[in-house]
Each structure stands twice: as C-alpha cells, then as structure tokens.
Subunit: 390 residues, 2 copies
C-alpha cells in the first residue's frame, strides 16, 4: 500500500512523487490558473517569470484579490523568509527568493524577509549565537539575489523582536489554542513550549503593524507571501486569526518543491551534500554531481536511448531545466530531441551543467560583493520613504 | 470535608485561611528562619524590615546562598514585578515593592521590575494599548515607593522585549515541555499558545543576560526575587531550567498574602473595591471601609469585648497592624490591650485608620510628584554605572 504523503514545515515524505493536486485539495488552497498569470503580465507589463510559465508556483490563496486591489491602485507588501539552519544554501533555497525578487521588481512593492533564527535554535538545538551567525550569513546570500535596498527589510527574529512585532505575536498567540496547533502541526505533550508558541512568530510578519517603521502603527495594507507549499499550515492558521484581530488575511502564492538530484520524492536535503547543488559549489562539483547523481530518465545504453528516447517524467536534468532554463524555445527543442532519443543523457547533462554554473557563478560573484555594511543596511529597522514609488 | 487549598499565580482558594506551612512543604521551598534574618541585619547594618520581623516574608529558596556570597563580596541583583491588570493598586500590591525597596537600600544592589502587560493582555483579554497604558500607570505607583533611579530599571514586556531578553525567553522555552507547564500551571489543550509560552517570559528576567545594558552579555550574577508565594511555580520552573542554560538558579524570598478586609482566606480582590484599601482611597473612604468591612475578632458588644477580649487570630485590624505598624512596642501594647478587652474594636479600628492613612497619604504625595519624564527615565534601557556602589 502506498505510504500516505505527509507535508508539514518540517517533513515532506510519501511514496514516490508528491501529488500536488491532492495537496491543493488537502490544504484547501487554489490552483494558480493561467488567467491569473495573464493578469500579472498585463498589470506589470513584464513577461511572466519562468517559475510562473513552468508551474513552479502553482497554488495560491487570495492572489486574485491582491491583483484586484492592485489594479485599483491599492498597495500591498511581500513577506517571505528562511530558517537559517545551515550556511550552505542549495538551489531549492533560492527559488522563493528569485521569485520574490521578480515580484518586487514587477509590482514595485516593499518586501520583508524573516530569518527565523529563534526557530532553528529551538528545532535544531543550535546555540543562540550560532543561529544568529547563520542568519547573517544567509542574509548575504539573500542580498546576492539582487533585492532593492530601498524596498527591502531583512530581519532576524533574535535581532528584531520587539514593539509592534511582539505585540502581534502575543495577539496571535492569544487567539490560537494548543489543540489547534496540535491539529495543524502535529505537536504533542512532549513538544516544548517554544515550538508550541513559534507559529505566532512566523505569523506575525503577515500583519503590517509588525513593521511600524515601514507602515506605521495603524496600517491594514495587504500582505502577499511567496513560499513553498510546505509553509501553508502557518498561514492557514494566520488567515483564521486575521479577521479577529482586524487585519486582512495574508494572500499566498505557493511553489512546488525543487527535487533532489536523486529524484522527485521530496525536498532536497541540506544534510546530504550529494542530493543538491549548492550555491557555493564549483563548476567541477556541479558537473560531477550532475554526471554521477542526477537521476536520468534516458535509456540505459546509448542504443536504448536512441531507440526509445528518455522518460521526461522522471528525468532530473530535464526537470531542473524546466526550473532554470528561461528560453522556452530551447527547452522545447530539448524536450523533442531528448524525449525522442536524438539527444543523449550525457548531452542534456552537459547543457544543465552549463545553465546551472552560469547561474551559480553569477550568484557567487554577487555574494562576494556583499559587505558587512550592506548586511547592516538591509537589516536596519529604518523608514523607507520611497518604497512604493515606481 | 475541607476544600483542598489551591495556590497558583491566578487562583488562591481553599476553605478558611491558607496553611502556609503546608504550602512550604507542597512547593518545596524553605522556611525563612530567624538566624537568616539576623544575618541580614548583621550584613546590612540595618534594622530588619517590619515584614521580616513579623513573618510577612516567611519562605525562601537559596536565600542563604545569596547571603553567603554577598558576605564574600559577590554581587547580586533583585527582580520583582507586577501584572498590570488594573490602575487601582491596593495595599497588598505594595507589599513586594515596599520590601524590595528595603532590600535595595540595605544591600545597595540593582533592581529590575517587570510589568507583564503581555500577560494581562492575554489573561484578562485587554487590548495591547490598554495594558501598555496600565503598565505605565502602575509604574508611577511603583516609582512612588521610592526606588533609587541609579539602581532601578522598570520595563514592560511589550516595550522592552528584544535582544538578550528574547534570547533567554527562547532558550528557556526550548527547555520546557507542554506536559511540564501542564503539571505546574494546570494548562490544558484549550489553553492558548500565548499562555503556554508565558512562563518563559516571566522566567527570563531571572537571568542577567536579559539585561545586557546592565550586566553585559556574559554575566552570571545571582538573582534574588522577592515575591508573593503564589509566584513560586514560575520560579520553580526557572530553577529547573537554569543549570541547563549555564545560569545560577534564582533565589527567592516569598511573602504571605495580605488578607482581604473580610478575613483571611485568600488575597484581596481588585474586582471588589470593598475588599481592600486602595492607594487612591481618601482618608474618609479608608475610615469607612475599616469601620464597615474589616472583620473584627472583638466581642459582639462592648460588654462582651470588655469581658472576653478579642480573638486576634481572625481580627483583621490587628493583622493589618502587624503588616504596617512598625513600632514593635506599640504593637505589643495593642495586642495586650485589645486581646484582653481593655481596648474596644472601635479604638483599634481608629488606630489602624490613622496608620494606613499616614502611609497612603505619603504614597499619594509621592505619586503626585512622579512626572511622565521620570517614568521615561526609569523605563529607559540604559547603562547604570553606579548601580553597585555603596
């Protein structure tokens, strides 16, 4: 019997590939339909991002309402984040940030990025000092994604908690019972009280008054959260609470998981360095990992591949290209050539290595340019007078 | 059958008077013995406070260790607090502050005072704004008790949470499970997650790194907490956690409850204004409340009182005098006169009215002199370079 698929913020498991349609109905979110993508293009005057064209971001909650009100001239802000459990970011970690950068540039809106060092201190049993250090290191990789400093506030919970943010944490916490978080997150009596409280910490940035320096103390501006679908439980909870506190429900736009090199049955794992391409990998390492570990759907021999073509449904090099090869025509060409057997496994792996190295090299160069002063600047709770200007 | 006595931070109940000896063994704290009081006198060169001489502060945890290390020249700091649920403070609320002021003056040590506006926002379902306002109003009454601004930092959780304080909250929270707080505080599945987390908020000021501006980021200085015995569960939990986080266990010195005018079976109630003398009461109100509501142990008629004398075990005017009449000889004279029947109920009630009015009048005058600027000054997270100087 197939093992039931489990998707929580801490666990993604099941037998075989994730059934995303099932997840949509299980979580109660909505499918991101083409007409919404078309509206984004119309409203922003920009080409739809690769992740929209290829269905990487595939689900949402109230995204249409955000577009409706944006069309009427109403502002919104973006909120995304990362749990800094490790210094080593892999490509899967970059996906929400790459997409959020696109949204920020396209809609010209402010963005807050939460680094949940408190969460990782509690879940991973890391010291406070170590998680603070990791948060800062991760901030550098995030900044390297190209965010606009005049519209972006990056904060770590340990560094920023206080005032409006803490007031919202408490207001949310008093609206959610233990039984509710038990149902949503699977906590039990042996869970520590920090874990039990934490959903309020991740929920709070969904409300603009958590950032009085940005939005003042009375703002009810809408919030849009780009994130991977496993974060949905936090924001389902947040959306339940919002009206009781007089806030708008945050909207969500949610992505699939980026598959491990070994195949599509979960997220990449930071603990198995051969399961993922890291942003610090060298060109040689990337080539080698793809050559040795990327699950191929191609024929077992050259002859079989020529004869039968590749099974694109399981082929990781092709899947990775759907995420990161922006050129639609080139992707179609590869689909044809490789699917039909005219292209060999070694060839598509070479193409992928080049695409990824180009991206990683650019990231590494941007990362090198990020100074400590820039980190301080992005993380300073400051007013941003131009954050809504075009 | 006698109803079992229940003492938690939110409930004090039972049939008849609290059995304090039973509470000591139930909670596992120690009796405050005369030899410890003698040591305090010897170490500080000051007369023992009324509350020590009369057994108002009657229990402790590790108080002797604090004295041992103080004798060797080791420093400690004081931590006490209040939950700002109401603007109206009664005499019972002043007791820990009057005693803490004495300790601060006698030992010349720094003091932190926590106003748990977050707690009251959650428990009493008050708005964030209202509890912040109450915290500030209560701070004025606390300042009016005469604390030394060069050694006293008053903070509200909503105002102060952040940095070292929040880091300690999280470190504590990750060391305590739901089952543990369920056992200690009686929480259940319907308790909201803010309540469940709150013990970590009240525990954190027991560790000096919650106040980096005062003690730096590495201090392990001892903490002594003067409080009413109902707060013991919080600090029992804190003491369990402390060694795991590399801190010293906080020491405690704990008081009885100040009885209601109607008699000794619990604390005074802020919701029944006739159960207590408030710091804002007029002389006339005080006289009237004592005349009409103070449970008397005197004879039902003048003749019976003359004949049998008063039952001092239940007599509230006499009990109140043991708290607030500093003159030992005068108290003994009243004990003799009233106990034997030579003094009438009306007379002891007049004496008490005078004693309390003198105290309340002085408080009111001091309170009038507290400006908003003084509140700001006491509540500013600032360095206190002279806090340990004699």
């Amino acid at each position: 019997m197939a093992q039931e698929q489990v998707v929580t913020p801490w666990e993604v498991s099941g037998s075989g590939a994730i059934d995303y349609d099932k997840l949509i109905s299980q979580f109660g979110c909505e499918k991101l339909e083409q007409r919404l993508i078309d509206r984004v293009v119309k409203l922003t005057g920009k080409r739809a991002h690769t992740f929209l064209r290829r269905g990487v971001f595939f689900a949402h909650r109230d995204f249409e309402k955000v577009l409706d009100s944006y069309e009427k001239g109403e502002k919104f802000y973006l909120y995304t984040g990362r749990g800094p459990s490790s210094e080593a970011l892999h490509l899967g970690h970059l996906i929400p940030f790459m997409f959020t950068k696109y949204l920020q540039d396209a809609f010209k809106v402010p963005l807050v990025i939460q680094l949940t060092d408190d969460e990782k201190c509690m879940w991973k049993n890391l010291s406070v000092e170590e998680t603070k250090r990791l948060a800062r290191e991760n901030a550098k990789d995030i900044i390297a994604c190209g965010f606009d400093i005049s519209r972006t506030f990056i904060f770590s919970d340990f560094q920023y908690v206080g005032r409006g943010f803490y007031e919202n944490m408490i207001s949310i916490a008093k609206s959610v019972t233990f039984n509710q978080v038990k149902g949503i997150f699977g906590f039990d009596g042996e869970s520590h009280i920090g874990k039990i409280f934490f959903p309020a910490v991740q929920a709070a940035p969904s409300f603009p008054t958590s950032f009085p320096h940005l939005f003042g103390t009375k703002s009810k501006i809408k919030c849009l959260i780009p994130c991977a679908i496993d974060q949905d439980p936090y924001f389902r909870m947040t959306r339940d609470v919002a009206p009781r506190l007089g806030y708008q429900k945050p909207a969500l736009i949610e992505s699939r998981f980026f598959p491990a090199l070994q195949g599509e049955s979960g997220k990449m794992s930071a603990s198995d360095t051969n399961s993922a391409i890291y942003v610090k990998d060298t060109q040689k390492e990337i080539k080698k990992k793809i050559a040795n570990y990327a699950l191929s759907g191609g024929g077992d021999t050259k002859e079989l591949q020529r004869k039968n073509g590749a099974n694109l449904k399981v082929d990781i090099p092709f899947k990775y290209l759907t995420f990161f090869l922006d050129d639609d025509e080139e992707l179609e060409r590869i689909r044809d050539e490789y699917g039909s057997g005219r292209m060999l496994t070694g060839e598509i792996k070479n193409i992928l290595s080049d695409v990824l190295w180009k991206m990683v090299e650019q990231h590494q160069q941007a990362r090198l340019a990020v100074t400590e002063e820039m980190v301080d600047a992005f993380m300073a709770p400051r007013e941003m007078p131009f954050m809504f200007e075009k």
